[in-house]
């Protein structure tokens, strides 16, 4: 595992070279998920057999949808279309059994040609079928084979359709501003019982019993940890083109499109912060249609089979109680990056306070954007530039939500002293200059994770023991995003593995973290 990850991160340094390995027109898209667009409202997909790699070294026999005559892939190509487009899909069949595609959530989907089947028309072996739908509503949708779906989705015939909204297609998931995003990532969740695949590969399909299903592999976008961390189109994973390694800048709104593409439920837990669930099954969670007023804040989303969810994740490091960047009070501020600032909301004292005062008042309007109920650290000083040589660090809490009167929970913190301040003196809500509140043990008492930068501070380095850690681009914070059914963090009886990925949050200043994304690849099908 360690050596493999080591190789992965060596590879990350040269990953952009992969871009040139595919003979189709590729747009490196900074904010987009990996997928396939169409220039003429048509897609040609081919159902064909192939193998995927799993981290324990096995190869698994699969059936998958390929783009045109390309590689069979798992999961199927992510079809990225625009709202109101009428899309025609031709499905060629190179398998020895009939296959098809159904489009849950596309109310206008019709099968134009093919052999009659139970759920839809099918492409016979060597033949083809054709489907058409109008993408009337934006959102995240699933598609899969409607022919023996209990076997064929397990075999890999499943994928995602993303419908971009008519307005702001590259920055919103829906027309609503509450779905705006800076980056987007796909989390298509599946599990697998290799015994089924063995039987199919040996031509013993009649012996497959999907009711005795016993999954031992779990996937995000068709890969298991640590392969989820590799870039898209990685050469040793020719049939698993999609990555699952979010890169996030402090303050970004990150859209996560979750797709339940297997047969089990998975509680997808995102470390780092809550995520806001804004849509389910391609519909904004809204009573008004204009804003996601029914959105929920969650730390885990139960992704059920056939369901899709859209969530927004943001990480700011607000109110940690210590300086995220490891600054001293006199250091320059991290500012000018919006939500990536050191969360400064500056205002002035409304009335002076004595050295013994236990409450203070501040002037609105800044008061409104300070924490409603939580306690927080603030700095008071007099005169111009921040943070004046005479200053006092305090910890404050509103007397009641909405009030601009604050209880001073503690005064003269961090080697400053409680003193008298005048009406109009400056005060700011910030962790800037807040020291690390605890002493970390010496290295010899610690085990360092391979994604640990060696420092508690974002964008900082510290010496690490030889051979440990250090796979940490620009010393970002890594967070594991994974199934919280912990059994699913394994691959064929080996821990760690399975349905897990690592997201990294990076420093907002491009001078510190140039933010060269793991490239995301949009192929435009000819």
């Amino acid at each position: 595992m360690n050596r493999k990850l080591n190789n992965i991160f060596k590879y990350l340094l040269v990953s952009s070279a992969v871009l040139f390995l595919v003979a189709v027109w590729i747009i490196p898209a900074r904010a987009a998920v990996d997928g396939v667009m169409t220039s003429n409202l048509r897609y040609t997909l081919t159902a064909k057999p192939g193998y995927i790699s799993v981290p324990d070294g096995n190869s698994i026999y699969m059936w998958g949808y390929a783009v045109g005559n390309g590689n069979m892939q798992y999961p199927g190509p992510t079809l990225i279309v625009n709202q109101f487009d009428t899309i025609t899909i031709t499905l060629n069949n190179e398998l020895t059994v009939p296959v098809s595609i159904v489009f849950p959530g596309q109310t206008s989907a019709v099968a134009l040609s093919g052999s009659p089947g139970l759920l839809t028309k099918e492409a016979l072996p060597g033949g083809f079928a054709q489907y058409r739908f109008t993408a009337s509503q934006p959102g995240t949708y699933i598609y899969y084979s409607g022919t023996m779906p209990e076997l064929q989705t397990e075999m890999g015939l499943v994928g995602t359709i993303i419908v971009r909204p008519n307005s702001n297609p590259l920055t919103r998931a829906y027309s609503s501003a509450s779905s705006s995003f800076d980056r987007e990532y796909l989390y298509l969740l599946t599990e697998m019982d290799p015994a089924v695949h063995d039987l199919v590969n040996k031509g013993k399909m009649d012996q497959v019993d999907t009711t005795t299903y016993h999954p031992v592999y779990w996937f995000v976008n068709g890969r298991s940890l640590p392969d989820t961390l590799l870039p898209p189109l990685y050469p040793t994973l020719p049939n698993q083109p999609y990555s699952a390694s979010p890169q996030i800048r402090v303050g970004d709104r990150v859209l996560i499109r979750m797709v339940g593409a297997g047969r089990d439920l998975h509680p997808l837990h995102l470390h780092g912060n809550h995520h806001q669930l804004i849509a389910r099954d391609g519909r904004l969670l809204s009573t008004t249609g204009t804003t996601a007023d029914l959105a929920e804040m969650l730390f885990s989303t139960s992704v059920a089979p056939g369901q899709t969810f859209d969530s927004i994740f943001t990480w700011t490091g607000e109110n940690l109680g210590w300086d995220l960047y490891g600054h001293a009070l006199t250091d320059p501020l991290v500012s000018g990056f919006g939500a990536g600032d050191e969360v400064f909301v500056q205002t002035t004292l409304n009335g002076g306070i004595t050295g013994g005062a236990t409450q203070l008042q501040i002037n609105t309007p800044a008061a409104g954007s300070w924490p409603a109920t939580a306690a927080f650290r603030a700095i008071i000083w007099s005169g111009g530039g921040f943070p004046g040589s005479a200053r006092e660090v305090v910890r404050l809490k509103r007397t009641s939500p909405g009030s601009s009167t604050f209880n001073i929970l503690s005064r003269g913190r961090e080697d400053t002293s409680a003193s008298a301040w005048l009406d109009g003196d400056s005060i700011v809500y910030t962790d800037h200059g807040g020291p690390m509140p605890v002493l970390l043990p010496d290295q010899q008492f610690l085990t360092n994770g391979m994604f640990w930068s060696g420092s508690p501070f974002l964008g900082s380095t510290a010496p690490l023991p030889p051979g440990e850690g250090g796979f940490n681009p620009y010393n970002g914070f890594f967070f594991m995003w994974h199934s919280h059914s912990e059994k699913e963090l394994t691959s064929n009886n080996i821990f760690p593995g399975g349905m897990a990925t690592m997201a990294v949050v990076e420093h907002p200043d491009p001078a510190i973290a140039p933010f060269s994304d793991i490239p995301h690849i949009t192929i435009v099908a000819p």
């Binding site: 509680p267 109680g321 924490p371 970390l440 043990p441 085990t447 360092n448 967070f479 912990e486 760690p496």
Partner: protein, 430 residues
């Protein structure tokens, strides 16, 4: 229960004697090693002020259970990570049953223990459920984790962590996920710091070798009382306003008279036996057959006290969290539901008492524009790592015994015993 499980159980018992002898031999061998490592740590701590057992708390502790200090806004707790034993509900103490207990990894509450005694007192002192952590919004929470080592598995030099599951805007250093962070080695302490800004029902667990350490029991309740506590709002018992709340709701919707943490989980005894006896761990075949609430199966869940400790851990109390819910008719009960099950989803029901789900994943169920998302229900379904806050309004109910249990009825069992499992009682008095 089916014959496969009966055979499993029989084999386990057969294996046990042999395994124990093997283990004893191992202990003699490894005892020396573990002692040597500790002595190294102790001697090193003379040189390095930050090594050895080190409980960092900037205030003086006044209540070791709640971790309160003489500073009203600072809370401090000291946990240790290690191993130990618990009794499943079908493993009663002698003379009624055999003495066999279930091997676990877990946390031990060392807050009240002088630091020089922590390594000894918490050795084999793992508790399941882990010690409950309850703190207040506005607290600065200092949580020290000391790794006392695995007495039964001295071959495992596993580090441990605390993952404060759901902590908002977490920093990697205090997240406890070992790949992206630091973990504490045997014989030393790491202090986590949390500025507590969001009230609600969370949970905590060790994240090292997550599938193993969590299946083995490093799981506990963790919740945060809101700043609104103490403000009279809404209606509670006898028509009085509530003064305790699940969240800062502004209207008393989440107000309650009494609160109970209900954490659901489940064990696979074969996995525990494999860990106890240094066998390959059956990850792929992991099968949970001991469904529990707060570390016990029914009827142990309704034992209001501490369960009789197992002999295997030197008679240390290891199952201290009762799940017996008791209230007076007319009171509002807050059930802080969480799941730390490592395999299955569970649905929890309460027979005869209406539920209102007011919180989910440590947030008030209220939309970004103030839309009320709370809902009346008769069931709550949780996957591992999910929590819900449920208010039970007992106004107008008849006094008596009510049941909270899983609607996954096959989990109303304690392994081969077709009775018990994930169930507890709610006693309503007049």
């Amino acid at each position: 229960m089916n014959t496969i499980q009966n055979n499993m159980k029989k084999n386990m018992k057969d294996n046990r004697g042999t395994i124990r002898k093997e283990r004893l031999r191992g202990l003699v061998l490894w005892g020396g090693v573990i002692m040597a490592v500790w002595m190294l740590m102790v001697s090193a701590s003379d040189v390095l002020a930050d090594g050895g057992v080190n409980f960092q708390c900037p205030a003086t502790i006044t209540d070791t259970t709640l971790g309160r200090t003489d500073d009203p806004y600072i809370a401090c707790k000291h946990l240790t990570g290690g191993d130990g034993y618990v009794r499943m509900a079908d493993q009663p103490p002698p003379p009624d049953g055999n003495a066999a207990a279930t091997y676990i990894f877990g946390f031990c509450d060392a807050t009240a223990i002088p630091v020089e005694n922590v390594m000894d007192d918490c050795l084999l002192g793992a508790q399941f459920a882990a010690p409950t952590l309850q703190i207040n919004e506005g607290d600065e929470f200092y949580l020290t984790l000391t790794n006392v080592g695995m007495n039964v598995r001295p071959d495992l030099f596993d580090p441990h962590t605390v993952h404060f599951h759901g902590f908002p805007n977490a920093a990697a250093v205090f997240d406890g996920e070992p790949m992206s962070s630091i973990s504490i080695n045997m014989g030393a302490s790491l202090t986590y710091y949390y500025n507590i800004v969001e009230p609600g029902t969370y949970l905590y667990h060790c994240h090292v070798e997550a599938t193993e350490h969590m299946q083995m029991g490093m799981l506990g309740n963790l919740y945060v009382h809101p700043a609104q506590d103490g403000t009279p709002l809404g209606t509670c018992a006898q028509g009085n306003p509530c003064t305790k709340f699940a969240y800062n709701d502004g209207d008393g919707l989440t107000g309650y008279d009494v609160e109970f943490p209900i954490q659901i989980s489940a064990f696979d005894p074969l996995f525990h036996l494999a860990d106890e006896t240094v066998q390959p761990l059956p990850f792929a075949d992991m099968l949970d057959v001991y469904p529990m609430i707060n570390g016990r199966g029914y009827p142990d869940t309704v034992n209001a006290g501490v369960l009789t400790p197992p002999a295997e851990n030197g008679n240390k109390n290891s199952q201290s969290v009762s799940s017996l819910i008791s209230a007076t008719v007319g009171q509002k009960i807050l059930v802080r539901l969480s799941s730390v099950a490592t395999i299955d989803f569970f649905t929890v029901q309460i027979l005869g008492i209406p539920m209102r789900v007011v919180g989910r994943d440590a947030r008030l169920l209220r939309g970004p524009t103030g839309q009320d998302l709370s809902y009346a229900a008769n069931s709550v379904t949780l996957g591992g790592g999910e929590t819900a806050d449920v208010i039970l309004d007992t106004t107008g109910l008849t006094a008596g015994t009510y049941f909270l249990y899983t609607a996954n009825l096959n989990h109303l069992s304690n392994f081969t015993e077709d009775f018990g499992g994930m169930m507890t009682e709610i006693i309503l008095n007049n």
